[in-house]
C-alpha cells in the first residue's frame, strides 16, 4: 500500500496546480491557527457584536496603507492616554493637576472627531471639575469645555470612585452647547471674527480647532503639534483621574479599515478563516461520511436495502434547500449548527449515487470474483478490495465539497440566514450591503471578504484538481 | 507497379519517461493488388506504422520523418489539409482495431457509410444512401440494413459496416488493423472470405495488421514481421512461412498451436523490450538462442537473403 501512496503523492505533486493549492492551504491553515491562538473563542459575542468595544474607532474608515498610494495623505487615527499629570500645584485652595497629551497633525486633513474618555476618577471630599483646553502649534489656546464629576450620593463613603466600570465619554466634537460658545469666543478673541454659536456649528468644530483662516474666508488645516490638556481642579491632593484619553479621529484605520460601527475589519476577516475552515471541513467530512457509507452499503448489498437507500437519496436530493433553511432559521434562530445541518442534509445524496455506481462497477471486476472463489467473507472483500478502489474518489469528493460548503455558508450569511454572533466573511458582506457600503463606495469593506471567500474556495479546488490524476488513473501523466 | 513505397519511416512519441521509438526506420513496398501483412506482438509498432502512414498523429509526437511514396509522391510531406482532401480515405483508408465499437451509436449504419460521400464528393443524401446500399451488398449485408442502428447489428455485421465505410470512396489501399480480433472464430472465417473476395473483385491493395501469423497466411501475399519498432523479416508469404530466416520469425511460427499438424508449440522466454530504453545493436539479441556477443554492438542492416526476401539479422551478414 505504501508504494501506491508514494506513487500517488508524487503524481499529485507533479502538477503546478497542486503545489499552488497546497501553498494556499498552508496559508489558510497558518492564519487560522494564529487566529485561534490569539482570539478568545467567544470573540463574536464578547467583542464583535458589542458596539461599545468599537466606539473609539473612526467609522467607515479606509485601511491605513492607502496612504502609500495617495499624494494628499489621509489622517491616521490617534488614541492618546495619560495617567499621570505633567504638572500639579496648589492655587487658591485648589489642587490643579494637568493631564496632557501631545498630538502631531502631519497631513493636510482635519481630524474627524475628538473624543474624551475618563476612567477611574477618585476624590475624597468634594467632586472636582475639569477644564479642557488645547494649545495649538501657533501658540493660540482654545478653552473648549468644562465638566463636573458627579457628586457623592447619599450613603456613599469616601473615597468616591467614578467611571471605573464604565468610562465617561464625551464626544467633544458633537457637543452642542458649551463647545460652540467657547469656540465663538475664541474666534472673536484671536481673529477678531464674529460668529454666533450656530454659525460655529455650521462651520464645523474641527476646522476651527485645527485650522487657520485663509483668504477666501475658509479654513485650512494647521500642521504641527497640538497639546490637549485636561486640568483637574480638585479639593484634595489625593484626588486624581486614573486614565485620561483623548481620541483624535482619523480617516484611515488599521490593516483593513473599519465598518460603520467602527469595527476593525481586519479582526473580523481574520476570524473568518478558522470559521470557514471549520464549516468547510465539518460539512464536507460528515457529508462524505454519510454519503459514501450509504453508497457503499447500497451498492454492495444490493437488493431491497439498495432500493431503499436509492429512493431515500432521490427524495433528499429533490428537497428545496433554501426554503427549508429559512424555516429552520425561523424555528431555531440563526445559529452556526443550523447551517451545518442544512449543508450536510443537502450534500450527501449526490455522493450516494456516484459511489454506488462505482461500487457496482468494481464489484464486477474479476479480482473481486477471485476473492469470492477463494472463500473470502463479504466484509473482507468490501474492506480489502472494493473500498480501496473508491477511497481515492471519495477523498477527492470530500475536498471538492469543502469550497462548496464555504460558499454556501457565505451565501446563506449574506442572505441574512447566518449566525450573527460569529463574524464570517459572508456576515461582513451582509452587513456591508445592508448599510449601503456598495453605494457609498466602501471598497475595503466589500472587496476583501469577497476575495477571501474566493481564495479559500480556490485553495480547495486547486487541491482537488491536483488530486484528479491520482484518483482517475486515465488522467495520469506518468506511465 | 509499385503503389506504395515506405522508406526510413520513423515515429517517436514524447512521454514523461523519454521518447518511445514506436516506429524506427521501417521500409517496405507494396504492389498494386498486393496484400502485405504486418505481423508482430503487442507493442511492436505495427499499429503505429499504420497511424504514421495515415498521418493520424497524436499530439505528443517527438519525431516523424521518412518517405511515404504513393505513386511516387511523398504524401507524408503534405500538410494536414491537403492530406485530408486528397489522400485520407480517398486513396488510403483504414479499418481500425475494434472498429465495430467506433460506430456512432446514434446514427444509422447506412448514413455512417454514406457520410464520406456527402462530405468529400458533395453527393446529396439520397444518392449517397443508394451508394451505401450497393456497398452493403458488396460486403455481404442485406441492403435494408442501412436503416439499422449499430446496436441492432451483431459484431460480425458491424465489422462489415466498418469495411464498407473504408471502401466508400474507392481507395487504392486499405489498412486493416486487427480486423477480426474481437470476433468469434466462425465469423472471422466469413470476414476473411469477404476480404479475399474483395481482393479479387476490386483488385485493391491491403495492409493487414495482426498478431496471428496463421491468420496472416490466410490473405497476405507478402509478410513483414515486426519486432520492437522495426521490420526484422520481409518477403513473400511462401518464403517467410515455409523458410523463415530470422530467429524471431522462426519462434513465432513455432509458437502457433497447429490444429492439423502435430508439432508441440514453443515459446520465447522473456518479454519484448521497452521502447524507451536506448538500443544497442540487435534488439532481439537478449532473447535469441543464436545470439553472439558482437551482435549487441551494431544494429544489423536489412540483408536480402533471397530474391525480395529481406532479414535484419547478423546471422546472414558480417558484423565486421
Amino acid at each position: 500500500m505504501s508504494s501506491y501512496l508514494r506513487e500517488s503523492l508524487s503524481e499529485f505533486w507533479a502538477s503546478k496546480i497542486s503545489k499552488l493549492g497546497v501553498i494556499f492551504l498552508l496559508i489558510v491553515v497558518a492564519v487560522s491557527v494564529y487566529t485561534i491562538a490569539t482570539f478568545p473563542l467567544d470573540y463574536g459575542t464578547r467583542y464583535w457584536n458589542n458596539p461599545r468595544y468599537w466606539v473609539d474607532n473612526p467609522k467607515a474608515a479606509e485601511p491605513q496603507w492607502i496612504n502609500y498610494f495617495l499624494g494628499d495623505k489621509k489622517l491616521g487615527h490617534t488614541v492618546l492616554s495619560t495617567n499621570m499629570p505633567i504638572k500639579a500645584y496648589l492655587s487658591g485652595g485648589y489642587y490643579l493637576k494637568f493631564y496632557s497629551v501631545s498630538y502631531d497633525l502631519t497631513v493636510n486633513q482635519f481630524p474627524t472627531f475628538i473624543n474624551l474618555k475618563l476612567e477611574d476618577v477618585k476624590y475624597h471630599t468634594r467632586a472636582p471639575s475639569a477644564t479642557i483646553f488645547i494649545t495649538r502649534p501657533d501658540n493660540k489656546t482654545i478653552e473648549l469645555y468644562t465638566l463636573t464629576i458627579e457628586s457623592p450620593v447619599p450613603n456613599e463613603v469616601p473615597p468616591y470612585i467614578r467611571y471605573s466600570d464604565e468610562p465617561k465619554r464625551i464626544l467633544l466634537s458633537g457637543e452642542q452647547y458649551v463647545v460652540p460658545l467657547r469656540l465663538s469666543n475664541y474666534l472673536l478673541q484671536e481673529y477678531n471674527l464674529s460668529r454666533t454659536p450656530s454659525e460655529v456649528i455650521e462651520i464645523g468644530y474641527k476646522k476651527i480647532i485645527f485650522g487657520e483662516i485663509t483668504e477666501e474666508d475658509d479654513f485650512q488645516p494647521l500642521k504641527g503639534t497640538y497639546i490637549f490638556n485636561l486640568v483637574l481642579k480638585a479639593r484634595q491632593g489625593g484626588d486624581l483621574i486614573g486614565k485620561t484619553t483623548f481620541i483624535i479621529g482619523g480617516q484611515v484605520y488599521g490593516l483593513m479599515g473599519t465598518d460603520t460601527l467602527g469595527r476593525d475589519l481586519s479582526q473580523g476577516l481574520l476570524f473568518g478563516f478558522p470559521v470557514a475552515l471549520l464549516i468547510g471541513f465539518a460539512a464536507s467530512f460528515i457529508t462524505t461520511a454519510i454519503g459514501a457509507s450509504l453508497g457503499v452499503t447500497g451498492g454492495y448489498i444490493g437488493g431491497r436495502v439498495d432500493n431503499v437507500i436509492q429512493r431515500v437519496s432521490d427524495v433528499a436530493n429533490n428537497l428545496p434547500q433554501l426554503p427549508l433553511l429559512i424555516f429552520l432559521t425561523f424555528v431555531f434562530g440563526g445559529k452556526l449548527w443550523v447551517i451545518l445541518v442544512v449543508l450536510i442534509a443537502f450534500g450527501w445524496p449526490s455522493l450516494v449515487i456516484v459511489v454506488r455506481s462505482m461500487i457496482l462497477q468494481v464489484k464486477s471486476a474479476s479480482f473481486v470474483e477471485a476473492s469470492v472463489s477463494v472463500g473470502a467473507s463479504k466484509w473482507r472483500i468490501m474492506a480489502r478490495h472494493i473500498f480501496p478502489q473508491v477511497a481515492p474518489y471519495i477523498l477527492s469528493q470530500m475536498i471538492f465539497f469543502t469550497p462548496s460548503a464555504i460558499l454556501s455558508e457565505a451565501a446563506l450569511s449574506f442572505l441574512g440566514l447566518g449566525d450573527p454572533s460569529i463574524p464570517t466573511w459572508g456576515q461582513i458582506l451582509e452587513y456591508g450591503f445592508d448599510h449601503g457600503a456598495v453605494y457609498l463606495g466602501y471598497w475595503w469593506w466589500i472587496l476583501p471578504p469577497g476575495l477571501l471567500i474566493v481564495f479559500s474556495a480556490v485553495t480547495f479546488v486547486l487541491i482537488a484538481l491536483g488530486l484528479e490524476p491520482v484518483v482517475n488513473p486515465r488522467l495520469r501523466r506518468r506511465r | 507497379m509499385k503503389l506504395l513505397e515506405v522508406e526510413g519511416l520513423k515515429l517517436y512519441y514524447k512521454t514523461l519517461r523519454g521518447p518511445v521509438k514506436a516506429v524506427d526506420n521501417v521500409e517496405f513496398t507494396l504492389e498494386k493488388g498486393e496484400t502485405l501483412g504486418a505481423v508482430g506482438e503487442s507493442g511492436c509498432g505495427k499499429s503505429s506504422t499504420a497511424i504514421a502512414i495515415m498521418k493520424l498523429l497524436p499530439t505528443n509526437v517527438e519525431q516523424y520523418e521518412g518517405k511515404v511514396l504513393l505513386d511516387g509522391m511523398n504524401v507524408r510531406e503534405f500538410n494536414e489539409g491537403e492530406f485530408r482532401r486528397k489522400i485520407r480515405w480517398k486513396r488510403i483508408s483504414m479499418v481500425f482495431q475494434g472498429a465495430m465499437n467506433s460506430l456512432n451509436p446514434v446514427l444509422k449504419a447506412g448514413f455512417q457509410v454514406a457520410e464520406p460521400l456527402i462530405v468529400h464528393q458533395s453527393m446529396n443524401k439520397k444518392e449517397a444512401i443508394k451508394k451505401a446500399k450497393e456497398l452493403f451488398k458488396l460486403v455481404g449485408l442485406p441492403p435494408d440494413f442501412t436503416e439499422r442502428y449499430p446496436h441492432e447489428l451483431s459484431g460480425g455485421m458491424k465489422q462489415r459496416v466498418a469495411i464498407a465505410m473504408a471502401l466508400v470512396l474507392n481507395p487504392e489501399l486499405i489498412i486493416l488493423d486487427e480486423p477480426t480480433s474481437a470476433i468469434d472464430v466462425s465469423i472471422q472465417a466469413q470476414i476473411m472470405n469477404l476480404l479475399k473476395r474483395l481482393k479479387k473483385e476490386l483488385d485493391i491493395s491491403m495492409m493487414f495488421i495482426t498478431h496471428d501469423i496463421a491468420l496472416a497466411s490466410d490473405i497476405c501475399d507478402k509478410i513483414g514481421v515486426m519486432y520492437a519498432g522495426q521490420i526484422v523479416e520481409l518477403g513473400p508469404s511462401e518464403n517467410v512461412l515455409l523458410n523463415p530466416k530470422h530467429p524471431y520469425t522462426q519462434k513465432l511460427i513455432a509458437s502457433v498451436p497447429l490444429l492439423r499438424g502435430d508439432r508441440t508449440p514453443e515459446f520465447i522466454p522473456g518479454a519484448p523490450p521497452d521502447l524507451v530504453e536506448p538500443f544497442k545493436g540487435c534488439r532481439f539479441y537478449p532473447r535469441c538462442p543464436y545470439g553472439k556477443d558482437e551482435f549487441e554492438e551494431k544494429e544489423p542492416p536489412l540483408i536480402e537473403v533471397e530474391k525480395n526476401h529481406f532479414v535484419k539479422c547478423w546471422l546472414y551478414g558480417d558484423v565486421k
Partner: protein, 319 residues
C-alpha cells in the same frame, strides 16, 4: 466433479414489466475425474464460461445437480469454505484478476489468510506456489505490484494464487487468450506440468480449439448452451462428427501460404441469441445438412463410436 443436466439462466429486466430469460447453459452434463483435463470449446454465447462458473458455485443453476467428490453441493446451505479450498478458478484477464493495490505476496497470500493457516504454513505454501509457476527468486517478485509485471507473469501469479490452497479441481477460463502469442505456449506448458504434478482435475475453457489439442484429454464442444460433441480430444479433432465442430475447425487457419488462394468452407450466420435460441436443433439455421426434423426436434446426445454427439444425422454425415 459431476455436473448433471445443469441449466443456468439469467434474468434481464427489459422495460418496466418484462423480464427476459437468458438461457446461458441449457441442459449440460459433464464429468471430470481426478487428474483429467477436459477442454470446453465454444464461441461467444455458447455458455462455456457460465458452465465453469456454475461448477464453482459462482452462479446458481436453475436446475440440475452439482456433485463434487461424491457430495451433492447444489443446494448446500451455509459455509462452503471446504469446497472453495478444493476447487479454484484461473481467470482470463491477467490484469483485472489481480487487485492493483495489492502486492504479489498479498495476492497469493489471501486464500491462505482467509482459511486461517498459521504463519509457517503460509510461508511454505507461498514459496511452493511461486516455484510451481517459476516466478523465482521469490524475494524479487513478492513485493511487486501487478503493473510492474508482464502479462505472462501476472497470469502466473493468478495460477499461483489458485494453487496455494492445494485444490483438486481447477476451472481455467481462457487463461491464455489475453497473453502475447510468443508467451502462450510457456503458460500452457507450465499448466500441463502443474496438472500432472498434482493430479488435478481441470476444466479448460477456451474459444481456441487448437490449444485444446495440446492441453486436454477430452473435449466438449458447446453451442448455444448445450454440448454438441464430446469425446477424446485427438479423436474429435482428427475426425469431427458434428457439423458445428467441423465448421469450427475449418474456420481456424494453420500457417500455410496456400491459404490465401482458397476460400474457407464457412457456415453462414452467427451464433444465436441466448434469449431466443432457434427451435429444434439450435444449429439448424446454419447447418449445411438441415432437414425439417432438425427444425422441430431437439437432438439428444447419442453415443457414437466412443463419443457423444447431439445431431440427428451424425452417423449418416460421418459416412
Amino acid at each position: 466433479m459431476d455436473l448433471q443436466n445443469i441449466r443456468t439462466y439469467f434474468y434481464v429486466r427489459k422495460g418496466f414489466f418484462r423480464t427476459l430469460t437468458v438461457r446461458a447453459v441449457d441442459g449440460v452434463s459433464l464429468k471430470i475425474d481426478q487428474g483429467e483435463i477436459v477442454a470446453i470449446v465454444g464461441e461467444s454465447g455458447s455458455g462455456k464460461t457460465t458452465l465453469g462458473r456454475t461448477a464453482l458455485k459462482l452462479e446458481k443453476p436453475v436446475s440440475g445437480k452439482i456433485i463434487f467428490e461424491g457430495r451433492d453441493i447444489t443446494n448446500i446451505k451455509g459455509d462452503i469454505k471446504w469446497f472453495r479450498r478444493k476447487a479454484q478458478m484461473i481467470f482470463q484477464d491477467p490484469f483485472m484478476s489481480l487487485n492493483p493495490y495489492m502486492t504479489v505476496k498479498q495476492i497469493i497470500e489471501e486464500p491462505i489468510v482467509v482459511h486461517n493457516f498459521d504463519e509457517k504454513e503460509r510461508k511454505r505454501r507461498i514459496l511452493k506456489a511461486l516455484s510451481d509457476v517459476r516466478l523465482l527468486p521469490s524475494d524479487e517478485f513478492l513485493p511487486k505490484y501487478p503493473h510492474m509485471l508482464s502479462g505472462g507473469q501476472r497470469q502466473r501469479v493468478g495460477i499461483a494464487r489458485s494453487l496455494v490452497l492445494e485444490p483438486t479441481l481447477l476451472v481455467a477460463d481462457e487463461p491464455i487468450s489475453m497473453i502475447d502469442a510468443s508467451s502462450r505456449a510457456g503458460i500452457l506448458f507450465l499448466f500441463g506440468e502443474i496438472q500432472k504434478k498434482y493430479d488435478l482435475g481441470v476444466m479448460y475453457i477456451t474459444h481456441d480449439i487448437a490449444t485444446a489439442k495440446y492441453v486436454s484429454v477430452n473435449i466438449a464442444v458447446m453451442y448455444a448452451g448445450k454440448i454438441v460433441e464430446y469425446g477424446p480430444t485427438i479423436e474429435v479433432l482428427k475426425n469431427p462428427l458434428h457439423p458445428y465442430t467441423t465448421a469450427l475447425m475449418e474456420a481456424v487457419p494453420d500457417p500455410d501460404p496456400q491459404n490465401r488462394f482458397r476460400f474457407r468452407k464457412v457456415v453462414p450466420g452467427e451464433p444465436p441469441n441466448p434469449i431466443s435460441p432457434p427451435t429444434g436443433c439450435r444449429f439448424h439455421p446454419r447447418c449445411p445438412y438441415t432437414t425439417e426434423t432438425c427444425k422441430k426436434e431437439e437432438p439428444l446426445l447419442k453415443e457414437i463410436s466412443g463419443r457423444r454427439i447431439a445431431c440427428h444425422y451424425a452417423e449418416k454425415i460421418a459416412k
